[in-house]
Symmetry: D2
Amino acid sequence: MASVAVLGAAGYAGAIAAQLLYKHPFFELSAVTARGEAGQRLDDVHPRTRVPLELEVYEAQTADAAVVAYPHGAAAPVVAELRDRGVRVVDLSADFRLRDQGLYEDWYGEHGAPRYFGQGVYGLPELTRDEVASADLVANPGCYPTAALLGLAPLARAGLIGDVVIDGKSGVSGAGRAATASTHFISADENVSPYKIKGHRHTPEIEQELSALGNDVTITFTPYLLPLAQGELVTSYVTPSREASDVEVAELFDDAYASEPFIELREGPVGVIDVRDTNYCRISWHVDPRNGRVIVFAAIDNLWKGAASQAVQNLNLMFGRPETEGLR
Amino acid sequence: MASVAVLGAAGYAGAIAAQLLYKHPFFELSAVTARGEAGQRLDDVHPRTRVPLELEVYEAQTADAAVVAYPHGAAAPVVAELRDRGVRVVDLSADFRLRDQGLYEDWYGEHGAPRYFGQGVYGLPELTRDEVASADLVANPGCYPTAALLGLAPLARAGLIGDVVIDGKSGVSGAGRAATASTHFISADENVSPYKIKGHRHTPEIEQELSALGNDVTITFTPYLLPLAQGELVTSYVTPSREASDVEVAELFDDAYASEPFIELREGPVGVIDVRDTNYCRISWHVDPRNGRVIVFAAIDNLWKGAASQAVQNLNLMFGRPETEGLR
Amino acid sequence: MASVAVLGAAGYAGAIAAQLLYKHPFFELSAVTARGEAGQRLDDVHPRTRVPLELEVYEAQTADAAVVAYPHGAAAPVVAELRDRGVRVVDLSADFRLRDQGLYEDWYGEHGAPRYFGQGVYGLPELTRDEVASADLVANPGCYPTAALLGLAPLARAGLIGDVVIDGKSGVSGAGRAATASTHFISADENVSPYKIKGHRHTPEIEQELSALGNDVTITFTPYLLPLAQGELVTSYVTPSREASDVEVAELFDDAYASEPFIELREGPVGVIDVRDTNYCRISWHVDPRNGRVIVFAAIDNLWKGAASQAVQNLNLMFGRPETEGLR
Amino acid sequence: MASVAVLGAAGYAGAIAAQLLYKHPFFELSAVTARGEAGQRLDDVHPRTRVPLELEVYEAQTADAAVVAYPHGAAAPVVAELRDRGVRVVDLSADFRLRDQGLYEDWYGEHGAPRYFGQGVYGLPELTRDEVASADLVANPGCYPTAALLGLAPLARAGLIGDVVIDGKSGVSGAGRAATASTHFISADENVSPYKIKGHRHTPEIEQELSALGNDVTITFTPYLLPLAQGELVTSYVTPSREASDVEVAELFDDAYASEPFIELREGPVGVIDVRDTNYCRISWHVDPRNGRVIVFAAIDNLWKGAASQAVQNLNLMFGRPETEGLR
């Protein structure tokens, strides 16, 4: 038994992390914190969690581990404080994902805890399982990078990505719980539009991890907002660096994922509804015989595998538990 | 040719009023005003209007008439200023709908222009056409009252309403353009819930107008928010004050509406999509043979017949134009 | 351990029943059957179930119990065959819900297994828990009756229902998996409309069970189709047979439901999203001080508490298991 | 005045064509035909059209022109019969779009009227205005090709397209009015998935027209189904054949579209809701400074500019009318 606090549990991802930990056989949800909603019960703010705990103001509560669900920038100082006290952390923000501080500053501005910069282990278990197992600070990947990297990793490891266009389609929960013009029902309903078209912050994160897999490439990544609540479909249109046959690509994907508990390799179209409210990533790929392009579809639930349930998957690894515990 | 200004044109209803007047054969849209969006073009804020005018700050612009699309309370002082200058007004707010000042204050608080209180003509053309034609200040009805009263008027005139339960189902645009917890996509999507269950302000408005039709009754009215953008379906479950046959009810509805250009009497179910983006009200009724209850369905577009296009219908009447001009 | 077959597992409710039983600690899902989809795996037809069993043609498979998810009329002969073999049955159809054969024939036509007519125990555990525990044939309630009766039972037991209007709002899954004009996305999207307005078959079912609770009443019931997948909000507008105070009504609801594991009594609005994918029923009520009417809102997931998970709740009772087993 | 019949007016696109022609100042809608719905009024089948004409069985009705809204394959013989009688035709099917018969047969099978094969003028007015003006048989473009080609034409004319990935996102109406598993509300709601991933028939059509503009290229095109009714967003990710600066690309787009009445050039994101129920195409483009890729977004309403209103635009040209008549 290990105790875990969820900081920022009033947000969508934080609430789901709390829900998963509350029912988890090994972890004990010791505290849920929030600012604006402090004093309310989590199951009043987010009824679907059915977690009857009161949201508290964060005051350095004792716990063996913490899931930090703060916005970028705000997370770093709290993570530093937790680490100073020896609390193991899974951080949902981007603050510890990048390993090049200049690059971080270009995309996010000044870092909130420079002495810890770059100390996060990138927590995409299917790719970094071993590092996560011994980590004290895990940087939980962004939602788009999760789907994009799971779809591209088998090709990247083989150095097959010559060029890639990544088209990411996300439900509205990806824009967070703040009520804004773009999260207004009337803006999103019956609509689809791209956003952050001149550069989304997940771009350097994807490139960094592709590079870590041995395939340096300057990607094109464009995200789109769709009229649905949860779900993300990421398509990677890969121009291979050399000709790649169906058979070769099939082997790469099968070798990578045949025994992965949360990867569902499929033939044909995949839809986000099929992974809704789960930690699964569904992947489908094919080679376009007309031009040799390799097209990979990867579908996740942006709040689950793209955030909260992946955090629990990481916690399982960090505490030596079965990776799937509490996630099925 | 008469010039019309639309005040509050950045809101949903104001924008549609501007769009209708911009294309109107008789009226000239002379100005569109807004606060936060002043300086932007209306077709940038609301592309679907395709009105290429710049939103201005309101400064007592000259015009023959004005459509005021301000929130309740904020409308009254501006309407008073316009009337002082002789400008004819259609006011979309509730400020001039009620005729009992005490009742107004109970539901809305202090009135912003008491010397004009009660001077609005209730502008539901199918019921008050003649009064509107000679009015200088028209109080445009609320969306729920529009549908409820059109559905109930034939029965009310015959004194047939003994008791009535009104169940109103509305799209999210009815909650306005402000980004709030309840207009967030994630709140409304895949959901339905009642709101203002202890008393919605349209209740006294409906009762006042039923009374004006000769049928005093204490209604039960409950509104619901549905996951759609525009459209309102109002069901009135009427316990008749005396037995009413199918034949009698049919006569009442046919007499009332056979020659109305914007009322579509139908048999069987009606759906809000059928009146989307129009000034039509679709009405269907039947008598439950098991208990004699008369059930009336009335479907409108809450932003059109429930607000903006009905304002234009009223303007047509006020300026002696064909009632349907610019509305088909 | 008891084996359970799900017949008609390719339908929405059948698939969820299979999913719940597949993960159930006590029951073993021994077979899933279907006609058109026989030979396919259930998790191909309904990926979200993640049940890797192949759908078979029904051939009197051996099992301790069966959940029958056939259409009305088609269910009765199969249920009879199962009962003849001693298999305990929870039937999701209406075939064994009514206890007056003439009434059944009026609403559904000839019965498919007259010798078993009327032998079903009405399986709404919160109201009929003891009868279910000793039953071999349980008639699982309809979705609207589930929500309506849970909302009305405390009042009905006190004989408080003088008259009642029931307005039922349902997601599209309630219309079943058949591709029809009314289940086409374009018909339901951005729309709301009533259906079966001259008489929905759940009407006699609700009246029968209210009568069983001691409150004979001729109800008015009208269902509506909403643009969402799962969820049902049933509002009961009750004209009480005598004046009922807030305090009295509060006592009735608290006494009835304070210790019920699947009833969530709430103050204020309730929304269907809060019970999505669960066996919970959320209930809220208030007394309209203006006319004494008692208004009750009850929200369920029509495929879960309105069908599949309630079937499992019934199975738990029939096999002496904890009522909540496998349902949280 | 010229008379126009709409054949296949019970489909989505045919109904809108009928609606536009019924209100058109020059054309007279002389007949609307359908098979299954013959005998019903069009405004009963499609209330929003408000066209009070009865659907007839097609029997070679006399008319100056016809809009044929039949499925691929079924259109050709009827178009041939119309042309034999001298009726001018706009055909919404693919039967007369391709100019290489072998290619047609590869993608669509045998052609239904070989003697007319290849005689259609491709009717994308912004690109082929002059040819349309003198045509008797116009092949109305597919919805995806309309948006893709309008977005790519300025680049193609300059020979700038070295390689292109086309990602097309469409509402469900694109799948037609047939009730199928994929048009069921439950399949599309809260979902997004690719379809026809191994080859969509619009692929050769796009390539043919790019080639006609002087830029031969083998494209990658993948379409996706989104949970909305109408609207199509097509993104073209262009790898330029040579470096292209912002300034150069801006000139290409401005030169091409500055005076086009139905093209709206925008900076920044475009959304499909902005062109809903219109003949407009909104286009936005930018050059990715990181890799030189040119990214073009084009948004249309698939049933309007992607089908019905474009057919009327073509008819206007064919009959020497102002191109925008009846379309604003």
